[in-house]
Structure formats: C-alpha cells, structure tokens
C-alpha cells in the first residue's frame, strides 16, 4: 500500500479521472461525474471551515447558490461573458462571506451552526421571493455554457467534464498548499481549542474570517461551474438539503482530511446513483449505513486510514529503537471524536 501514498497516489487518482470518460462511453455518466466533481469542489471548501477550522457552517450550500445565481443573472439578464461572470461569482461570494463571517463567527459552537442555518434560509427566501432579480420560483433558464478559451471549447459534456476536473485539481492543489502551511496550522489550532489558540497569539476573528471567506469562495466557484454545466437554476439550490448533502460527503470521506471530501462525494454519489431503482426507499439503506459509519468511523474513511497509518509508523519507529524499552503504556484517549465536527 505504501507506494499508493503521496505523489504517486495523487497522480494515479488524476489518471483514473482523466481516463474515466473512455470507459464511461455515455454522456449521462459523464455529466453525473461532472456534477460530482462540482459538489466535491464545494465540499472541499466546507471542509476548510468545518473540518480544519472547527466551525460547523450550515450556510455552505446557500453560498454555492449565490455563486450560481451570480453567473445566471449576469449572463442571462445582462449578457455578461461567462468567464467574467465566473470571476465575479467568486468576488460576490467572498464579499458576502466576509460580512456573514464577521457577524456569525462571533458565535461559537452550535450557536454558530444555528445562526448560519438561519442565514442559509434567509438567502433561500431572498432567492425565491426577489423575483425581479432572481426570477423567483421559475428560476433562470438558458444560461450559456462556458465560452471557449482559445482553441478549447466547452459545449460538449466531455469537454465540460475536463473543464470541471481541471478546476477540481486546482482546488485540491490550493487546499493542500493552505492546510499544510502555517496558515493551515493556525486554522487547526482554532479547531482544537480557540482558547489555547488565542493564548498562542493567534488572532481568532481574523483567522476564522479568513477561513470562512476562503471556504465560501470554493462554494461560489462550484456554484458558478454548476450554472455553466446544468444551464438552469432554481431556488432549490439554496435549500438546506444541498448543505446537508455536502456535510454528509465530508463526514463520510473524513472531516479535516485533504482527500476526504473528494472520496466522500464520489462514494456517496455513486451509492445514491446505484440505489436509484429503490427511489425514496434508498434512504432506508442509506441512513443506517451513515449512522454505522459515524459510530464506528468518526474520522471518516480517509481519517481512519490516516490515523491507522500514523500509529503504525510510530509503532515501527519505536520497535526499531526498542532498546530503551521504557515506553510508557499509552493511556486510552478520552474521546477521539471532535466536538465541532
């Protein structure tokens, strides 16, 4: 398994993603995969604020809708070129995220989650009721596909797949940079204990706001890609269901791990797709599976694997210098689950 880790593993993953359309041979599967990647981008962002910074944001889906609607409104009603609208979608969500963050991050723990859930609902209502801006419940139709860049055209499902894949790779790459840096360590310090982080000289509000803004920018761009791929938007995109789906993806994959959101999104989407024939009854299968996972693997798939690997590495290291022999008996960890995640 060792050879699967690090750069080789990532390269392999990228290769599988690159070759997938060759095996899929079917536009439906390809567009499902494209949407999965879009959700994975949003889940990556959610994981930054929730997994790495410990602030359980329940407005993430609404920010995705804001990104999508920015593209929808600008391209359809104002004939703005797609890529300019795309960039603006990132700016609009960042700006909105900054103000929502400033307000909501004053609250801690569950209060923060409840507040953001309310923010999410307000955003949903705004999108549904503000008909002159958002077309209300009718939604926005006829959003143009992303315009071509030079020789690259994005009209077909296949080309869209590669476009979204490129953004996913970029998103993971930037996220890796962030979480492995000192900045990421500040985020994690806040998650472990904001009291301790502050005593270590970390500016709580600034750190949390930065994480929040970065995370919603991921949601904003995911939404913008969604608009360009699905070409139709309804207010349902801002409903809490989207957020809860994203939370589920992150939980299944592994909260606070780099690969977790991607693994969770792909796996859960695959499962829901393959249980499609059960219609709504699929939740009967799905619910217990999810509960079992939370009980037995609170760190998610990737988290559990990483922890086991770290333990093994340490065991090997201490076995190597066993000469000391005085290794203290490890005490049982009090509770391994994380309070905020």
């Amino acid at each position: 398994m060792r050879w699967l880790e690090g750069k080789t593993g990532w390269a392999l993953l990228a290769l599988v993603a690159l070759l997938f359309p060759l095996f899929a041979q079917n536009n439906y599967l390809i567009s499902v995969a494209t949407q999965t990647f879009i959700m994975a981008i949003a889940a990556l962002g959610l994981n930054l604020i929730t997994g790495y910074t410990g602030q359980f944001n329940l407005a993430h889906g609404a920010f995705m809708a804001v990104g999508a609607y920015t593209v929808g409104i600008l391209t359809v009603d104002h004939q703005v070129p797609f890529w300019i609208a795309f960039l603006l979608a990132g700016c609009v969500t960042a700006l909105l995220g900054y103000f929502v963050g400033l307000l909501s991050l004053r609250l801690k723990g569950h209060y923060f989650s409840i507040f953001t859930l309310c923010v999410s609902y307000i955003m949903f209502l705004l999108i549904e009721k503000w008909e002159s801006l958002t077309h209300g419940p009718v939604g926005i139709m006829g959003i143009p596909a992303p315009t071509g860049i030079g020789p690259l055209q994005f009209g077909t499902p296949l080309s869209q797949y590669y476009l979204v894949l490129a953004f996913l790779v970029l998103g993971i790459w930037i996220m890796a940079r962030i979480v492995r840096s000192l900045l990421g360590r500040s985020f994690m310090a806040v998650r472990n204990s904001d009291e301790l982080a502050e005593a270590l000289g970390i500016d709580l509000m600034r750190t949390k706001t930065l994480s929040f803004v970065l995370s919603v920018v991921y949601a904003g761009f995911a939404g913008a890609l969604y608009a360009g791929q699905v070409r139709f938007l309804g207010p349902d995109l801002a409903s809490e269901v989207v957020t809860f789906d994203l939370v589920m993806f992150v939980l299944v994959g592994g909260v606070g791990t780099l690969l977790g959101p991607l693994v969770g999104t792909v796996l859960v989407t695959y499962l829901t797709q393959s249980l499609q024939f059960l219609q709504d009854y699929r939740m009967v299968v799905f619910g217990p599976l999810l509960i079992a996972l939370i009980i037995f693997m609170p760190d998610g798939l990737v988290g559990t694997w990483l922890k086991r690997r770290a333990r093994r590495a340490d065991a090997q290291a201490s076995a190597a210098k066993d000469a000391a022999g005085a290794t203290a008996t490890p005490i049982a960890p009090a509770k391994e689950g994380r309070s905020h995640a």
Partner: protein, 258 residues
C-alpha cells in the same frame, strides 16, 4: 517584570478578584495559592487578557497591557498553559507544537499561494522552535507519537513546550502538576526550575504544597478574590491569615491535608 495594581474583576456583582496589588520579579518563580474559588484562574485570565478587568492596571515590562486581547498579550511575551491542554489528538506531538511559534511569523494567504521564500523560511523556523521546545521539556522521544497516545505527564510537558515555542519571557502555568503522581510532580518541578535557570520568569497556580514550598521564590495567597498574604514560603507558612484561610474553615482543611 509584571506589576499589578488594584486589579479587580466583577462578574455581575460578584467580585472574583478584589483589588489585588502585587509584582512578579524577573527570573523568579512566583506561586499563587489559595482555596478553590479563591480567584486564582480568574487572576490568570485577567493577566493573559481572556477577560478585561473591571478596574486596575497590569504593567508588563513597563508597558500597560490592561485590557489587551489574549493574542496581543501573547505576542508581547506572556505565555500561558491551561489546566487541561487541548491537543489535536490525531496528529503527532511535534505537529501539535509547530503552530506555537506562529505568532512570530508574518506569512499570509499570498505567501501560501505562491509558496514564498518567506513562508518556507518561517516554516523551517517554526519546526526548529518546536523541536527545541520538545528537547527542552525532555520529550524528543515522543515527537512522532500521536498526541492521543501520550501520558498525562507527557501532556503537561507538551503544554510547557507549546508555551515555550511562543518565545515568552513570562510563563503563566495553571496547575502544571495537576493530575500527575508524586514522582512525576518532582520531575515537573525540576523542569520549572530549568525554565527559570534559562532566563524565563514563571508564575504558577498549584495546589500541591510540597512542590510550592520547595519551588517558589515568592508566594501570593488569595482567598475570596483578595490577597491575604505574600512573601517567601517561610513567611507565608507563618502568616496567621494563611493559617486561618487554610485551617480555619472546613474547606481549607482538605487542602492542608494534601
């Protein structure tokens, strides 16, 4: 080094810290003792900036730090430990310590995105600081162990190391030997001495009298939020107010027995 004048904290009319005036000298170990609920931790919270005081002044190295936020206070060189240390249980001990020196670094989002030279240098520096701190507290052998797997005593030492990594001048230690056995307590006391020998100033809260009497250069005794005595261990031991606070009530009797 730290001068405290008439420091008072009221929570909704309840006076938790009552007009305390004292000073901690550079290069000494000062201890704060007192029965449970005497206001010791609140006192630390005021000095470290967790709560703003209702009135009074805190002057650190000649600079007024009254009412500053905890992160500012930390940057000025006051580090603190808590009664319980929250570590990231899934990461290694060394990984947990690297963030300790973050407050002395400048890198922001842009440095991260372009992986600037400054960021690389600062990350190396933080890692070195973490290693140094871990060596200092005598835990280099657990550097790669998962934080969830270390003992209570090792955890206390990691808390020291985390505080040390911030490059402080003054360390506020809240019950540094709480919940560890007598032999380990002796080891921790030696470590606190070592801190002072290396030029740090220490102020600690502790219930373990043996340890305090041997370790402290100066003791401040609090009761009901007010300072009732202050002096060397020998002076404090003889002080009638202290004897009354500790032995005069049922509550105090428990502590005297410890």
């Amino acid at each position: 080094m730290l001068e405290i004048t008439d420091l008072t904290k009221q929570f909704f009319g309840l006076t938790a810290v009552d007009r305390i005036t004292t000073r901690f000298e550079r290069g000494q170990v000062s201890a704060i003792i007192g029965p449970n609920g005497a206001g010791k931790t609140t006192f630390f919270n005021l000095v470290a900036g967790t709560h703003p005081p209702t009135s009074g002044r805190i002057v650190f190295n000649g600079k007024d730090v009254t009412g500053l936020r905890p992160d500012h206070v930390a940057r000025l060189g006051i580090a603190r430990t808590f009664q319980t240390t929250h570590l990231f249980e899934n990461a290694t001990v060394l990984d947990n310590l690297i963030v300790g020196h973050r407050l002395r670094t400048q890198s922001g989002l842009w440095d991260v995105l372009v992986n600037s030279r400054r960021l690389q240098g600062e990350e190396r520096l933080c890692r070195e600081k973490a290693r140094e701190a871990l060596d200092f507290v005598g835990l280099s052998h657990v550097a790669n162990r998962i934080a969830a797997d270390i003992t209570q005593e090792e955890r206390k030492r990691v808390a020291f190391a985390l505080a040390l990594a911030t490059d402080p001048e003054l360390l506020l230690l809240d019950e540094p030997a709480g919940g560890v056995n007598p032999e380990e307590t002796v080891g921790l006391a030696a470590l606190i001495r070592k801190l002072v020998d290396h030029g740090k100033t220490v102020c600690l809260i502790e219930h373990k009298m043996d340890m305090i009497m041997r370790l402290a250069d100066k003791i401040v005794v609090l009761n009901n939020g007010a300072k009732i005595a202050e002096g060397t261990p020998a002076e404090v031991r003889r002080d009638p107010h202290v004897i009354e606070a500790y032995l005069g009530t049922e509550h105090g009797a428990e502590h005297a027995a410890v």
